[in-house]
């Protein structure tokens, strides 16, 4: 897409800052494969945003379910590998803490495309 380098409007912009909007996945710690837990879909959207989960084929990442499925487990393993964590595929505390931390908005896709495949242990 050809996008403008920046909007040229000079209107005064007021930025409302009320609450921190960081992702808080702490309630998902130790959620098990096969579970259906509210918030898992948000985690999938986070992992989709950074290149770890593909969408469901409908073209919309809004349709992720709250089921902790095998694809999510693989995505978590890949995230753990890329972030230098032990590869477990599980939502342990250290993994959830990193997922809840502020980060660069550049997708990790370039790390994923290095061609290494991971398996949860």
């Amino acid at each position: 897409r050809n996008l403008p380098d920046e909007y040229t409007t000079k209107a005064t912009q007021t930025i409302k800052v009320s609450n921190a909007t960081r992702h808080d996945f702490s309630r998902l710690v130790d959620v098990q494969l096969g579970s259906h837990v509210s918030g898992v879909s948000e985690l999938k959207r986070y992992l989709h945003r950074f290149g770890y989960v593909k969408d469901d084929g409908s073209g919309s990442s809004k349709n992720f379910s709250d089921v902790f499925d095998g694809r999510l487990e693989s995505a978590i393993s890949l995230f753990q590998q890329n972030l230098g964590l032990p590869i477990t595929g599980r939502l342990d505390t250290s993994t959830v803490t990193l997922m809840s931390s502020p980060r660069c908005g550049v997708s990790d896709t370039h790390m994923i495309n290095n061609g290494m495949h991971v398996t949860a242990r």
Partner: protein
């Protein structure tokens, strides 16, 4: 270290950079922000044969720096306080955007629980502008995560090795001052 797909890089030894006049912060001041970026660019320039020159003309600068809030038209909307802090584009796009909603600090004033060190994020994003992707090494500047109230501005062996493979060394770079890097390069 990693690279963007296709391993894009700049093919010039001087890159100009400019700050958006319309998308900027009220605080810290422009002077403080410019000082921070000067230091951040200097770190990368000390290891590769590329220099960075600040210019006034945003439209023609190679590297374009701006602070934006929310959806700012590039398909990568910012999300308010914390979450995503900034993003940059691979060479030779040159754009780098910082989330204007963050509590950016420039003088280690980490009083706020959501304070984010501008120099650390700037150093990271300049790595992207040069062509580096994210690193798996937690100590590396190019590691994608930066907790609030954290300062991480010194390039590590991983960062330096990555950028050296793209641009080669600055003739004034003394590898013997980077013992760990020397060992790393010796080992291939």
């Amino acid at each position: 270290y990693t690279y963007f797909g296709g391993k894009p890089k700049w093919n010039r030894d001087t890159l100009t950079y400019a700050f958006s006049e319309t998308h900027k912060l009220d605080y810290p001041t422009s002077d403080d922000v410019k000082t921070v970026f000067r230091r951040a660019f200097g770190r990368w320039a000390s290891v590769i044969p590329v220099s960075f020159k600040e210019v006034d003309d945003y439209t023609t600068a190679n590297l374009k720096i701006g602070f934006f809030a929310g959806d700012h038209g590039d398909g990568k909307p910012f999300d308010g306080v914390l979450g995503t802090l900034a993003h940059a584009f691979a060479p030779k796009n040159g754009r780098v955007h910082f989330d204007a909603a963050e509590t950016w600090v420039v003088n280690d004033d980490f009083g706020s629980k959501v304070a984010v060190d501008l120099e650390s994020v700037a150093t990271h994003e300049i790595g992207h502008l040069l062509g580096l992707g994210h690193s798996s090494r937690e100590s590396a500047v190019m590691y994608p995560i930066l907790p609030p109230r954290t300062k991480k501005v010194d390039l590590t062996v991983d960062d330096v090795a990555g950028v050296l493979r793209l641009y080669g060394p600055n003739p004034e770079l003394r590898l013997d001052s980077l013992a760990e890097l020397k060992d790393s390069l010796r080992n291939g």
